[in-house]
């Protein structure tokens, strides 16, 4: 075996993903499918605001807002947020109506690992819109009881 072939071979071995006990991107896709069904999701109109670098995964401020006139004829019906690597893929699901005037929700969430967060909005015409954000978490949400 020549040197070049040896190097290519080792590179192929090294790239093996490590499994973990948390939710996976597939679990998130499954959770999204439950909400969206077979409808297409357009990556537009939704803004997902959270810090790109998170020092403490226990409380991460997050704001989801959707561009919408919020009238009876055209408003945002629901906002869902999903994550990839917490134990469960769902974060929250909120129902809105024209009575909200503005489609924006702020809250604080826990993140167990660096991952991708996805927000999906459903408008009154039955269409789905999304936004996603990749975040880096330095200190994960605690997994053990503090003493």
């Amino acid at each position: 075996m020549d040197r070049r072939r040896f190097l290519v071979g080792t590179a192929a071995i090294v790239v093996v993903p490590l499994g973990s006990a948390s939710a996976t991107p597939e679990a998130m896709a499954e959770a999204i499918r439950k909400v969206v069904g077979d409808s297409a999701v357009t990556e537009s109109r939704v803004t997902l605001d959270l810090p790109p670098l998170i020092e403490n995964g226990n409380t991460v401020p997050l704001v989801v807002s959707v561009e919408s006139p919020m009238t009876v004829a055209d408003h945002v019906k629901a906002i869902h947020v999903f994550n990839e690597k917490n134990p469960q893929p769902n974060v929250f699901s909120a129902r809105l109506s024209a009575r909200n005037g503005r489609a924006a929700i702020g809250t604080r969430i826990k993140l167990g690992d660096s991952q991708k967060i996805v927000a999906i909005a459903e408008t009154s015409d039955g269409r789905f819109w999304s936004a996603s954000a990749d975040v880096i978490v330095t200190l994960a949400a605690c997994l053990e009881e503090s003493t």
Partner: protein, 106 residues
């Protein structure tokens, strides 16, 4: 029992959009963490947060263990008429807390 902090304007112009912020003290125990004895601490979270304006539901949010401890939620509402905003949190172990704020619309 539970400590609640609500931030909403006392007065608002008719038809304007007001922001309502609510914070409640709650551990939001995920049910995935082992305690000091190695046993999993049972899940204890707030599952649902709803808001009503004079009795009509205006906001409904389903929470998961991924919501941080002492859940904070902010949302918007159209100030249609003077009235009471009712906030209600329900969750595991029979957790129910209600809070109301009065907004005068002129």
């Amino acid at each position: 029992m539970a400590n609640v902090l609500v931030n909403a304007p006392k007065t608002a112009k008719r038809g304007s959009v007001v922001e309502i912020k609510a914070l409640i003290m709650h551990p939001m125990e995920t049910g995935f963490r082992p305690g000091t004895m190695g046993k999993i601490i049972p899940r204890n979270i707030i599952e649902r947060f709803t808001a009503t304006w004079n009795g009509t539901e205006i906001f409904d949010m389903e929470m998961s263990p991924a919501i941080a401890a002492n859940p904070f939620v902010s949302f918007f509402a159209v100030a249609s008429e003077s009235g009471t905003v009712g906030l209600r949190w329900t969750g595991d172990e029979g957790f129910v807390v209600e809070e109301r704020v009065v907004i005068a619309v002129e």
